[in-house]
Symmetry: C2
Subunit: 237 residues, 2 copies
Amino acid sequence: MATSSTPQRAGPGRGRPPRLDAARTVDVALALLDEAGLDALTMRRLADAVGAQVGALYRYFATKQDLLTAMAERMLAGCGDPLPSHENWPGQVAEMAERMRNALLRYQDGARVFAGTHAVGVNTLSFSDTLVGVLRGAGFADEDAARATFAIVSFVIGHTLEEQAADAYPQDGPLLESALEPGAFPHLTAARHTLTSADFGTHFRFGLKLIITGLRHHEPGRQDLHNATRLSRREQR
Amino acid sequence: MATSSTPQRAGPGRGRPPRLDAARTVDVALALLDEAGLDALTMRRLADAVGAQVGALYRYFATKQDLLTAMAERMLAGCGDPLPSHENWPGQVAEMAERMRNALLRYQDGARVFAGTHAVGVNTLSFSDTLVGVLRGAGFADEDAARATFAIVSFVIGHTLEEQAADAYPQDGPLLESALEPGAFPHLTAARHTLTSADFGTHFRFGLKLIITGLRHHEPGRQDLHNATRLSRREQR
DNA sequence: ACCTGAACACCGTTCAAGT
DNA sequence: ACCTGAACACCGTTCAAGT
């Protein structure tokens, strides 16, 4: 992706070295993202930060979406690295999920950038490959390993998205508190302290543990037959 | 939210009836969203569709973000309705998750709209209240019920986001296939058919089943002590 | 080969003025 | 009270022209 949009480089020493290049542009874009957030990351501001005119960016990224994809891909650097082999598979699955969460949390709006793109670079692929590998190594069939990976990634993205949104709108907790007029929503009222708690690390590990426990007790096969009897409304129409 | 930004209405029969109102504007906005997608939903296009000038929209919604929040809130209409009582709690949890998924799937980019807002209207609150209620009714402590709700909602949002993104970029599957040069990423290669499958309903129910199975085998208490020893990198710094 | 300068077709938002 | 008309300060993207 980033590779295909990289222009031809002149041979070493031939011609002027370019003032811009894709890798540095992504670096600066990620720094800008972390400082100001996704809404403030405009091509013009990026051009300023990188010391060029707006149009120059389009030599390296055909579109802003391509830039965001390259940023997403960059974020996952290292997330597919080999795992410490002394851990059992549930620990390894947890480690992979936390790697991804930490990668997205490292930049403001990181989850939004990632969710809004479809990176298929080495970092992203190697992350998925490692996670699928852990599950296949644990004895899961290829299908189940793929589906479990999909579930874990979906959970991580959704959870991190919520967490970073809460970071950006800290007034949201009190807002929910005040929306709970006494009498209505008794269950929400009973659970409000935990729901509005900013301890997202604990929330995350709770949900992750549910998924891993589910995997532990998963019996292969019969999955499709078992579920064929309760299709969602969407598939029924 | 939508309530607070609704302007004072004249008494019945007094003055001209307004050509706009918040409810109809949200209706038209949702129709436009479903037809053209979130990127094409601009205030100007909405004004056209509603038969007014752009500025008129700002009498009912202080900002575009408020409009999107009202849309998100509207999407969840009915999702908090009482559940059929003949089902056991795992079935009821599954039903709530599928209700939310179906609600977000009903409009193009529905998940993106929902993920990008923080609706705290009756529909959203009543949905959460019902889900927390199912879990409390099943015997879960308030804290666990809240955290499980958070996990389920995160999973639904993340999963539906991916599903609708795949709807919008159907060329992405082949793209991943072609990125898998033989030799690299053996696990991804083994699992590629399931990973690129468009059967998101099956994917969704697989992940949902993992979470519900996890809940079934959840033992209350000891959660915090158990996890305190493995903080994520983020909490460590 | 790489970048500038300038333009094009849009945006969200504001606000005086009309009715 | 409700809406129009017009403006302001931006956007992403394109492309001839310079060096």
